[in-house]
Amino acid sequence: MSQTITIDPVTRLEGHGKISIQLNDQGEVEGAHFHVTQVRGFERFAQGRPFYEMPSLMARVCGICPVSHLIASAKACEAVMSVRIPHTAAQLRRMLNLAQMVQSHALSFFYLASPDLLLGMESDPKMRHILGVVAAKPELGRAGVALRRFGQHIIELLGNKRIHPGWVIPGGVTEPLTSAKRDEILAMIPEAHKNVKLALTAYRQIADGFREEIEVFGNFPSYSMGLINEDGSIEFTDGALRLIDPLGEIVEDGITATRFTEVIGEAVEPYSYTKFPYYKPLGYPEGSYRVGPLARLNIVQSMGTPKADKAFAEFKLLSKGPVESSFYYHHARLVEMIYGIEKIEEILSDPKILDTHVRAAAGVNRFEGAGVAEAPRGTLMHHYKVDENGLITWANLIIATGQNNHAMNKGIFQAARHYIKDGKFTEGILNRVEAVARTFDPCLSCSTHALGQMPLWLELKAADGRVLAEVHR
């Protein structure tokens, strides 16, 4: 008899989602879906707001990566203004975005993924959480807490707030960096390096124990996309996008925010409030691609900083071409954290970093603008249209988690089909299916959007859980 296994909610990820696995009469997995079940509608209620309010409004989309939204939004506004921001402002924003990446990756690796990685997929679920990790490996717990605080404190120092800082505005930033703040950040760098090195060492020790998971956790060829500098090094805030094919060949290069929607389309599926972006020339789903740490490391030639380049060289040994298993998102995150810490130190040694000219001013010079930045989870695009008074008439956000949506669903199906046999499964097996989603570190609160008529599935249930009525749209 056919059966549906439901994992609801999926734990240890940002936001609320569920997984459904469909089994046929023989108990074989026929399908699996990752459902994002909430919808927020930010694009809609931005309409009518002045464009210069957008960064602070859009940052509220997410409490985990508000900085990336601030930056992508400010860049879209600057396209409307047709201004180029001062060098120092660009560098300060870059540092802010990297600080966010470090703290978000620390959250993903230490708090969300490490219970599986360090305690085991089959370990006692009562202890399979960060506090279990802390009890078993306190030095790693301390490293995770310290790396979170490292990133959060830089955000707090620069933006005067740890969450939703209002410091990034269209045209630059509101105030320059002081020498006291610069010195305080520099003083934190050595300990941050020490902590991420500890994490990488721990990861190296356990990775070989996950051979089976590496084989079936979203392990397939795919397209990859991310920001890159002209010299082929990784970039999080400026640069242009590159898309590579499953063999690593460049398909599109130098994709600017203005060209984004020429190249990327969006599809919808009835089972999720998250969209499914795809590479337009290939259509959906053939043109689906991955973004985020794994994709970024697959598209670049170098990290551009010494310690990270060493870690990157080790990462590239995993495959002759693009690294395919989504399990390696964890590894890629650690490489990016090394880069983030080094790059922050490099930015702070810029002789112009204390310059007080940090803002360009202008009004509405164009009626449409788009901005791109790399969020911790991948590429983020904000696209706005305004009227002659600068009021938003239309907004669209293409979020990293959405761009990974197809790969996440495919990965969950792959793992479910591998582990569930004859309709039999254990808690540890279902945890592995969830852990596929965790590799992508999806942020569901960001990713919920609707395109066209919003799909809706309404169930009226009795107190005992019986479904009394259903409406599908």
Binding site: K126, H129, L131, V134, R148, R149, H153
Partner: protein, 160 residues
């Protein structure tokens, strides 16, 4: 961020946009302007997050300041907080003070010698906005606003 020479810690939490939930922030603001708190590190946050354990690991005395729904609006209370024997199995982004103390003990092998919670009874957590330049400050109910001096006085006694 470290405590440096300050081993007294005031941790206030709440959402200043949600009416009386912002009372912790207001108390922290008042404490920062009070010379009696010169040797106290004051930290405000939306929630008590695991990262605060680093500061707690260095503190000798801590006061957690928050709004409360357990007492009448405007009633100021204080009680000692002991580290939880068991920490929550599901960690999201925040912890109650007792669990945060327990986490601190796990991570750093020590907890503050004295830990207190200071709460103010709240009447409304509805979204609220101030006016003009204080737009994002939120609005406290009268009873809660009037209780701030008493809460600050209580904290002063704790940190003596």
């Amino acid at each position: 961020m470290h405590l440096e020479t300050k081993s007294k810690l005031l941790l206030a939490c709440g959402n200043p946009l949600c009416g009386d939930d912002g009372v912790g922030w207001k108390i922290a603001e008042a404490a920062e302007q009070d010379p009696g708190f010169a040797d106290v590190k004051v930290v405000v946050a939306q929630q008590f997050t695991p990262e605060l354990s680093e500061l707690l690991g260095e503190a000798e005395v801590v006061a957690f300041v928050d709004a409360s729904i357990s007492v009448e609006p405007g009633v100021v209370s204080s009680f000692t907080v002991a580290a939880a024997q068991e920490v929550p199995q599901a960690l999201t982004h925040h912890l109650p003070p007792a669990s945060l103390l327990a986490l601190t003990g796990y991570l750093y092998g020590r907890i503050p010698g004295r830990a207190y919670a200071v709460t103010v009874g709240a009447s409304s957590f509805e979204l609220s906005f101030g006016v003009e330049e204080r737009l994002l400050d939120g609005v406290l109910s009268e009873a809660v606003r009037d209780a701030i001096p008493a809460a600050v006085a209580l904290l002063r006694e704790i940190f003596v």
